[in-house]
Amino acid sequence: MILLRILIRNAFRNRLRTGLTILGITIAILAFGLLRTVVSAWYAGVAASSATRLVTRNAVSLIFPLPLAYKDKIRQVDGVSHVSWGNWFGGIYISEKNFFANFCVDPPSYLALYPEYILSERERKAFLSDRKGFIAGRKLADRFGWKPGDTVTLKGVIFPGNWDFVLRGIYRGRDRTIDETQFLFQWEYLNETVRQRYPSRADQVGFYMIGVASPERAVDVAGAIDRLFKNSLAETLTETEKAFQLGFIAMTEAIVMAIQLVSIVIIVIIMAVVANTMAMTTRERIGDYAILKTLGFGGRQIALLIFGEALVITGIGAAIGMALTYPAARAFGSTLSNFFPVFNVARETLWLDLGAALVVAVAAAVIPTQRAIGIRIADGLRRIG
């Protein structure tokens, strides 16, 4: 108890130094937390993917389409429970800076395959019954102030022209990991229009989304689908939804690696700052530790004082940094919602924050503790006065 009192009072003996160290730790933990959240956001699609869903695309590249006729053949593959399809539309809303993901999908099969998008029954029916209808995620609708019934025009790039849509529903995600910034409209609307304007591009889909009966069968089913179209004009590549998403991330792996590296560098820097503080602190208190040793206190108690002080200082900085991560992530996420539709501080990030703080405190206290314990009492007492 007395040691706890000493270490807490010691921690605030030099308020300016302690305050600045805490500030440094707070900023480091905040930066670390935000960078980890950016990495999590990068993997949000992977985290939200289902083990019972497969994605089939053209084996050459995602930009090449597949015939719509494949859907019936895929449906016949043993183990397939659902088949849906869609296209990346890539439309622009007013200007390019308003970027958001927009797809056309087959609504009945798509909504059956993605139960994590929650729509009211009324909105669902309205979407299914309106060929020009679309649904938008809650965040996207909030971002542009769209209300059900509003007409929204997208300028097509892959499919040129102005495309009018009517908002029929606003979906919300089943949990925080679900992307609520998507714009989904009827594939039939696209196909009918394309048939009129560019007949050769009609009845083509960008990808199939396939539901499998059980995750254990996913690999076998994927193989069976690809074998089905072997040596056809449009060979397929089928992979799990997770692998499909990871394929996108692989394109930007160097950036993710760089972010992870920077987050580790931040922790190493703050470790050096805390270690410097603890070294100065211990040097100043060698006399105190010598007195305690003279009175009969042992190395364990001295170690407790130094480690405890490092933990108090680091713990306060980490707690403030972690608390600030939430509002900072909200501000960051809303500013960069175009790039990161899901930007949530994950529980794992907080555990990493805590772990980093603990490692910093312990690493910073090791050498000062060794010095304080190792010094002869007579030498320590000589430093007083």
Binding site: I2, R5, I6, G296
Partner: protein, 237 residues
């Protein structure tokens, strides 16, 4: 009829000590032998660098001799391990230093209580003992003051209270008046004399101050690591 002399409370035999400064070995104490009887008040004098404080540290168990034997209250402290020595110091020796050596973040009461945290006493008992010790040195009214809020004399009185709170048989004092004005120094010496006289504490005091040394029963001189013969001091009490 013959009266047998009491067994010495401190028995120092053939103790030598040297320090190493880089490659150079600097001898500090040479073959020191002396005894101190229970209830004695001994002052150790000598020029700076003569080895007084080193000898005091060896007797108090905060430094280790290169050779020789030091027996205090029947315990050969030269044979104790670091941990045993720490436990022995906590129970058997009270320390008074020139610069008081109080813990600056603890109040007077907490400083005096500090050694008792190793004793296994209850919180209440610790508090009572500390209050008694502070009352003994006349500082009952300064319990919650931090060392920085006390005068030098008051700090030294707190240090004396801390030294006696575990009721050790031996008190060691290293220049206890070296940092005090004349009045405060007189008060501290009075207090030490009282502890010796009324509570029977054996005191070994290192000092440069002839007035302080005069309060002891015995004076010993140390010069170039060699101890002089007994020199009964004039006791002003």
């Amino acid at each position: 009829m013959t009266t047998e002399a009491p067994a010495p409370i401190i028995d120092v035999r053939g103790v030598s000590k040297s320090y190493r400064r880089g490659e150079v070995v600097v001898p500090v104490l040479h073959d020191i032998t002396f005894t101190i009887a229970p209830g004695e008040f001994l002052s150790l004098m000598g020029p700076s660098g003569s080895g007084k404080s080193t000898l005091l540290n060896l007797v108090a168990g905060i430094d280790q001799a290169d050779s020789g034997r030091i027996v205090v209250e029947g315990v050969d402290i030269t044979r104790l391990t670091e941990t045993e020595l720490a436990r022995w110091r906590a129970n058997s020796v009270g320390f008074i230093f020139q610069f008081y050596n109080l813990i600056p973040v603890l109040t007077a009461l907490e400083n005096v209580e500090l050694p008792l945290h190793l004793s296994g006493l209850s919180r209440r008992a610790r508090r009572e003992h500390a209050l008694t010790a502070l009352d003994l040195v006349g500082l009952s009214h300064r319990l919650d003051h931090f060392p920085g809020q006390l005068s030098g004399g008051e700090q030294q009185r707190v240090a004396i209270a801390r030294a006696v709170v575990t009721d050790p048989t031996v008190l060691v004092a290293d220049e206890p008046t070296g940092d005090l004005d004349r009045v405060s120094a007189g008060e501290v010496l009075d207090m030490m004399a009282r502890l010796n006289r009324e509570l029977g504490k054996t005191i070994v005091m290192v000092t440069h101050d002839p007035r302080a040394a005069a309060r002891a029963h015995l004076k010993r001189h140390l010069d170039k690591g060699v101890l002089s013969a007994d020199d009964p001091a004039e006791n002003p009490d």
